[in-house]
């Protein structure tokens, strides 16, 4: 009996969650829906990359190098090493859509932990964390990337690391503010009275109640992180070769801009559309959530 009830309740909650999702989607402004569609397109491309891409993205078609311009066999042409540009764009979606979200997630985890600690314990913990955040925020970000990545070498892990370090302080500030606002609430006092640990209160009482602002923050960060990762690739400090990465493709295509000028447009358009999609969606989400809160 209880099992059946639990099952029924689960079905109801799943159904209502789906309905809430659909309602939220319908309630989004049209620009946000457009943004979501663009992002969904690139996610689909990344997921189905092996079936969409006509070639292995890292194979050099040496025989085609004499005439690398677009043709029936290579619709977007070949790059300077004879690799199929279409295949590299398709597989490049995988690279950017893995590294960027991981970097944002790392930055959010680090920032949220620092912000929660600072806002919950206050006192000297707060002042130490806040000072470190101020210091990091005052660093010239791009020059910090150069110095660190040229010293430690550019790898996916190091890129995620530097992005997490430079983006975490902003999240920490926001989370700290939210924590200060939430700690005096009754449910936090109740949890304290029950004798819950500080860790439990932060992770299970405070964090879930700031998911709205955190979600907006992550979406906004994602767009800029995609720009940053592309920039590092463009400047030669990106992911190591040979795996495709849109930023380094733009840089590579500059070498033969006069013979195949369109080759430079494809990776640029790919990055630009993805970031526009993410940012349109993030703006719409922010508008929706703030209106809901008003």
């Amino acid at each position: 009996m209880t099992a059946k009830l639990a099952h029924l309740r689960w079905r109801i909650s799943a159904w209502s969650a789906a309905r809430r999702g659909i309602a939220a989607f319908a309630g989004l402004p049209p620009t946000a829906r457009l943004g979501l569609a663009i992002v969904a397109f690139w996610v689909a491309v990344a997921a189905c990359a092996p079936w969409i891409a006509p070639y292995n993205p890292n194979i050099n078609h040496v025989e085609g190098l004499q005439d690398p311009v677009p043709s029936w066999t290579h619709p977007l042409g070949l790059d300077s090493q004879g690799r199929d540009i279409l295949s590299r764009i398709v597989f490049g979606a995988r690279t950017v859509l893995t590294v960027a979200p991981i970097a944002v997630l790392a930055a959010t985890l680090l920032g949220a932990s620092l912000g929660l600690l600072a806002g919950y314990y206050r006192g000297w913990v707060d002042s130490v964390i806040s000072r470190i955040c101020d210091l990091t925020l005052s660093l010239p970000t791009i020059i910090f990337y150069f110095v660190v990545l040229s010293a430690l070498g550019a790898s996916a892990l190091n890129i995620v690391l530097v992005i997490a370090i430079t983006k975490a302080p902003m999240t920490a500030r926001i989370v700290r503010g939210l924590t200060l606002e939430l700690v005096p609430r009754d449910y936090v006092s109740a949890a304290k009275m029950r004798g819950e640990s500080a860790w439990f209160i932060m992770a299970c009482e405070l964090l879930p109640n700031m998911r709205g602002p955190l979600l907006i923050e992550m979406c906004l960060r994602l767009g800029y992180t995609i720009i940053t990762i592309g920039m590092l690739g463009f400047l030669g400090l990106g992911l190591p070769p040979p795996d495709p990465d849109w930023g380094s493709m733009v840089n590579d295509a500059r070498k033969y801009i006069y013979s195949n000028p369109l080759a430079i447009l494809w990776p640029s358009l790919a990055i630009a559309t993805l970031v526009i999609g993410v940012n349109l969606f993030a703006d719409g989400l922010r508008e929706e959530i703030t209106r809901y809160q008003r």
Binding site: I143, I227, R254, I257, A272
Partner: protein, 316 residues
């Protein structure tokens, strides 16, 4: 006001110490010695040892760091291995070029973004506003490198009306002014969307305040409501953002500088980092931190000067 200044000096000193130490330490961790970089891959081990000794790199880390700090305090930042010239000369020339580019871009960005922001924020949700929002979102979403190569494809490769390189020396048919057009255009398109969005948000906020409603209800024409009442108040909040752009324009335009081979500060830092030219990286980072912290302070100062409520708080 003096409290603000004391905070600025404290922040500046801690940042400079932290960053100089961090850069020094990172260089220790990095593989490949400076001597090997200078002498190339075919150097004999004896040559490398000799040069390492000559550069003083065989002594302990802390000793070298303290020595560097003492020298730097006297104004001696060492020699750049990459350019084989005193660091102060190399950085001076690069900073001057970047200042020209930054100033030109700043003069274009600020009026343009204020105009866009005010036009959009005047009436929230109007067609004009939607247009401004769409423009600012899209222009700040297209990365500078993507925008740059698109503009190069059209104006350099297809039309041939502008030069694709800006070495700041008049060469061939291109004057220095023509060389500045594309770099400034790329920076403006990427940056002005962000600033305009800030101005718009502030304008929207001000237009909802009671004193604006009073001005409208007393029959003032819309033009005067915006020009006399809203504008002044709407520009207080974005002043900080606008001043922070100085920092971005000096240390953040690396992509544009390296794309157009513009001999500026950002490109110099990139080359120094790739070549592990530690003296140049150290001094460049310190200057970048100085600029960043100072623009922050300048922003706070202007904010305090513009908003009487904050000014009053400063006086106990």
């Amino acid at each position: 006001m003096s409290k603000l200044f004391a905070r600025y000096v404290a922040a500046l000193v801690t940042s400079l110490i932290a960053v100089s130490f961090l850069v020094f330490a990172l260089n220790e961790l990095s593989p490949g010695s400076a001597a090997l970089k200078v002498l190339g891959p075919y150097a004999l081990p004896e040559q490398i040892t000799a040069l390492t000794k000559e550069l003083g790199l065989d002594r302990p880390f802390v000793v070298r760091y303290v020595e560097y700090v003492v020298k730097a305090l006297r104004g001696d930042f060492g020699r750049s291995i990459l350019f084989n010239a005193p660091v102060s000369d190399v950085i001076g020339a690069a900073l001057l070029n970047t200042a020209i580019l930054a100033a030109t871009a700043f003069v274009v960005i600020v009026p343009l973004s204020i105009l866009l922001g005010v036009l959009g924020g005047m009436r929230e949700g109007s067609i004009l506003d939607r247009g401004v929002v769409l423009f600012t979102t899209i222009s700040s979403s297209i990365p500078d490198y993507a925008m740059g190569v698109m503009l190069i494809t059209v104006f350099v490769v297809k039309l041939g009306v502008l030069p694709g390189l800006s070495p700041m020396v008049a060469q061939g048919q291109w004057s220095i002014a023509q060389q500045m057009v594309l770099p400034v255009a790329v920076i403006t398109l990427f940056d002005c969307g962000y600033v305009a969005a800030m101005v718009r948000a502030s304008m929207v906020d001000v237009m909802e305040r009671p004193f604006i409603r009073t001005a409208i209800l007393k029959g003032l024409p819309n033009r005067l409501v915006v020009a006399r009442h809203a504008l002044r108040n709407a520009l207080i909040a974005p002043v900080t953002v606008i001043l922070l752009q100085i920092n971005y324009l000096i240390t953040g335009v690396v992509v544009v500088e390296s794309m157009f081979a513009y001999p500026g500060f950002g490109r110099m830092m990139l080359e120094a980092a790739l070549a592990k030219d530690i003296a140049l990286i150290e001094a460049g980072s310190l200057i970048a931190v100085f600029i960043a912290v100072s623009t922050n302070f300048l922003g706070d100062l202007c904010y305090a000067l513009l908003d009487p409520r904050i000014r009053a708080q400063g006086k106990p």
